[in-house]
């Protein structure tokens, strides 16, 4: 009873466990490139030729190139075969030198086991020579103690290093500059159309076509930056200006507002902006309402914002005056001035 129980345990539990530990996935020789080494037992039956049945063992290398393979000499010279399935190697009939005559070998198949441990095959041959003719057969039995070859290590192609957000913006801005040049040309051509009455339509259409083909790729580049960081100041400013140039005022305002609210324009940044602009205008000191009627009027108008911006009602934010000043400047200021005068840490 104890013996039966032991057998039950062995077959019910241990064998499956052992099987799971030693079983390998089936090998497919037709997908392999490389070499395999075999000990091949060759049994040749020459009895029909008045000879013996003799057996030889050869150390043989097979060179695999996926669906083809070259088997080393097992008595009738090396031969090239083609895998007709994952583990069946087919050799076509061939005639080999077999002094003093020749032997014509039949087609034959070599069957490999899926654990790479062995193969077997058999063919017939017809000898013909000065000493007569006869037929015989040869069987092949190969063993491989090294197991299946290790799977090749696949090295994924190296990807170019990802650009930093700053580099991505710089690349997009280069295209954006080209786009603004084209839009400047377009405005000038439209103006000439208006003022001189001479048709510039052909040139206008050509420039518009170039704009239409360039802008989708520009937007895709900025979108990639903003997908990773929606508050990226420079990307938002650039997109705001692009949308403004496209006449998409609502989108312009959304990007501009996000840039202003990004926190990038700190007090020190704003200070740097003012100094940069003052220097550009040739001011030794900042102009102030206290000593300039023009500045007083500008300040009054900022404070009495009428809400119009490209026909939209843009609410004036009363809580943060400095942020409001920035937004007004973003509304009317040249974008080159905004970006180059800001040093964002």
């Amino acid at each position: 009873m104890r013996g039966i129980l032991s057998l039950f345990i062995l077959f019910g539990f241990l064998l499956p466990l052992l099987h799971a530990q030693v079983s390998m996935p089936p090998w497919n020789w037709s997908q392999y490139s490389g070499t395999s080494q075999w000990q091949v037992t060759v049994t040749e039956d020459q009895t029909a030729c008045h000879g013996p049945i003799f057996t030889n063992t050869y150390g043989v290398i097979i060179q695999h190139d996926q669906t083809t393979a070259v088997m080393g000499d097992v008595g009738h010279g090396p031969a090239t075969g083609t895998f007709i399935s994952g583990n069946v190697l087919h050799f076509r009939s061939r005639t080999v030198s077999d002094p003093p005559g020749t032997s014509t070998l039949s087609d034959y198949d070599i069957y490999f086991t899926t654990d790479c441990a062995s193969f077997a095959g058999e063919y017939t041959w017809d000898y013909s020579g000065s000493d007569g003719s006869c037929s015989g057969s040869t069987s092949l039995s190969g063993t491989n103690t090294q197991g299946c070859p290790a799977p090749p290590i696949v090295i994924p192609p190296s990807k170019p290093p990802e650009l930093t957000p700053e580099e991505q913006v710089a690349a997009a801005r280069s295209d954006l500059n080209n786009d603004f040049d084209l839009r400047g040309e377009l405005k000038y051509l439209n103006l000439q159309n208006l003022l001189t009455g001479e048709s510039q339509d052909a040139q206008i259409n050509a420039v518009q076509d170039r704009i239409d083909s360039l802008e989708p790729s520009i937007e895709a580049k900025y979108k990639k930056v903003l997908d990773a960081d929606p508050n990226n100041f420079e990307a938002n400013v650039d997109m705001a200006e692009l949308k403004r140039s496209q006449g998409l005022t609502h989108e312009y305002y959304e990007y501009m507002d996000r840039a202003a609210n990004s926190g990038a324009v700190t007090a020190s940044v704003r200070d740097a902006m003012e100094k940069s602009i003052a220097r550009e205008l040739g001011f030794s000191t900042f102009p102030k309402p206290a000593n300039s009627l023009l500045m007083r009027k500008v300040g009054t108008e900022k404070g009495n914002w009428q809400g119009g911006l490209y026909g939209m009602d843009v609410p004036k934010e009363s809580s943060d005056k400095s942020l409001w000043d920035i937004k007004v400047y973003f509304t009317v200021g040249p974008w080159e001035g905004i970006v180059k005068s800001i040093v964002v840490n």
């Binding site: 500059n177 603004f180 040049d181 400047g184 040309e185 405005k187 000038y188 103006l191 000439q192 208006l194 003022l195 001189t196 403004r244 704003r270 902006m273 003012e274 602009i277 003052a278 550009e280 205008l281 040739g282 001011f283 030794s284 900042f286 102009p287 102030k288 000593n291 300039s292 009627l293 023009l294 500045m295 009027k297 500008v298 300040g299 108008e301 900022k302 009428q306 119009g308 911006l309 490209y310 005056k321 400095s322 000043d325 920035i326 007004v328 400047y329 509304t331 009317v332 200021g333 040249p334 080159e336 001035g337 180059k340």
Partner: protein, 150 residues
């Protein structure tokens, strides 16, 4: 970037010169003493002139060729409109009490604004910064820069 700006400035400069030539410039009026209330000058117009802002705004809205020079507490501005619906504004001179730096930065600068008939933005005449986003030119850029200062 510098090359891009230069090219754009060159284009805009050429456009500005073309507009000033075809739209007609008004001759600068004399500077009035500081502190005066708004005063309309009646410089002899090269083309038909308007006596006041309301008249000019109406004409501009109809894309008529018109000129007007206005002096207020800030300074003297000249306005012109053209049949091509192009509005031009020039800051002829600032109030005498403005600093030399402000005068150097702004006097003689112009901007132009293109619009559609019936859609003239009268704020271009009645204000300094409202509607600037639809205009181009040195005066627009300089006034826009000034909005950054508190």
């Amino acid at each position: 970037m510098a090359k891009t700006i230069e090219k754009r400035v060159a284009l805009m400069l050429a456009a500005g010169i073309l507009i000033l030539f075809l739209a007609g410039c008004s001759s600068p009026s004399q500077n009035l003493p500081a502190g005066n209330a708004q005063n309309i000058t009646n410089a002899p117009p090269a083309s038909p002139g308007c006596g006041n802002e309301a008249c000019f705004i109406t004409a501009a809205n109809n894309c008529e060729s018109m000129n007007l020079t206005v002096t207020d507490e800030v300074g003297t501005f000249s306005f012109s409109s053209s049949k091509s619906c192009v509005f031009t504004k020039t800051l002829v001179s600032l109030n005498a009490n403005e600093t030399r730096e402000m005068k150097n930065a702004l006097e003689g600068k112009s901007m132009y604004c293109i619009y559609e008939k019936g859609n003239f933005d009268q704020r271009w005449v009645t204000s300094l910064i409202y509607g600037l986003e639809n205009c181009q030119g040195d005066l627009k850029d300089r006034l826009a820069d000034l909005t950054i200062f508190p």
